[in-house]
Subunit: 117 residues, 3 copies
């Protein structure tokens, strides 16, 4: 049995859980005063930072599930995503519209391949 | 290749699928006549029961994705969740609003680390 | 550390990612001019095709998360699903209503047990 490794283990949730060679985390913009374009940009940068902290990069993403507060923002997501993702080394991606907390415009569940855990 | 272990294998779905050291299941309140507070309480108790049946407990949860029929119920969720989760040993958690079947107020997809499978 | 195997690696996303004995993919109807019944039928057939391409079949599905553009289509989903799924060898299944892109009536995130990856 693998060990559960928790990074950023808080009271309500853990920021990143690593287990069985897979890291899982939820990414939302840290500054939710930003508009949707700003929040998407933040989330993509934060995905990079989280991956870097795990010793990998965006090419190690296995799966990204994206919730948009307003699905009409999908073209903005795609524009920024397409400039960010590494063609040929992208994760699977789902994107649906759902109600999000507070001022969040985007919430992402990410999984990445990592060593250990 | 790991073996797929199914617990509660029904006609439409399986209650719990264990594979590669990960148990996956969907939890909804058994008594949907309850209000949202009651349904959240049921789901948390059922998560404990399911975990116990797997030989683990809530500290083995890796990931919990929560759908609320009305995201305005999030404060009630957080109140009950915070009293339930083990600080420092929590899973990652996403929570969004989505349309749920029948009288469901909450639907949860859970994954936990287990031996075997 | 397992290797990430990508099948159908495009610019925006990869069709199927295999890692650690698990294949993950997103399935939507290829012909979105179809009504909801047609789209659900397509998705179920496409799940079979994807599974076959992975050397497995629908009995290897671990988890299926279903987003319906209109949850009132759930009875149609259940009718077609029940005729398709193998009783006793079904995956776990969640089904919620969410906003979907374009003319999509159903979007599915699937995971299956496979050898390798």
């Amino acid at each position: 049995m693998s060990e559960i490794v928790r990074i950023g283990a808080g009271k309500r949730w853990t920021d990143i859980v690593v287990y069985g060679g897979v890291a899982r985390w939820v990414e939302v913009a840290e500054n939710t005063a930003d508009d949707v374009r700003g929040q998407i940009g933040q989330v993509l940068r934060q995905l990079d930072e989280t991956a870097a902290g795990l010793g990998v990069d965006r090419r190690s993403l296995l799966e990204v599930v994206i919730y948009l507060a307003d699905l009409r923002d999908a073209p903005t997501l795609d524009e920024l995503w397409d400039a960010w993702v590494v063609p040929g080394q992208a994760p699977i991606r789902a994107c649906v519209g759902a109600a999000l907390s507070g001022n969040l415009r985007i919430e992402v569940i990410a999984q990445a391949a990592v060593a250990g855990g």
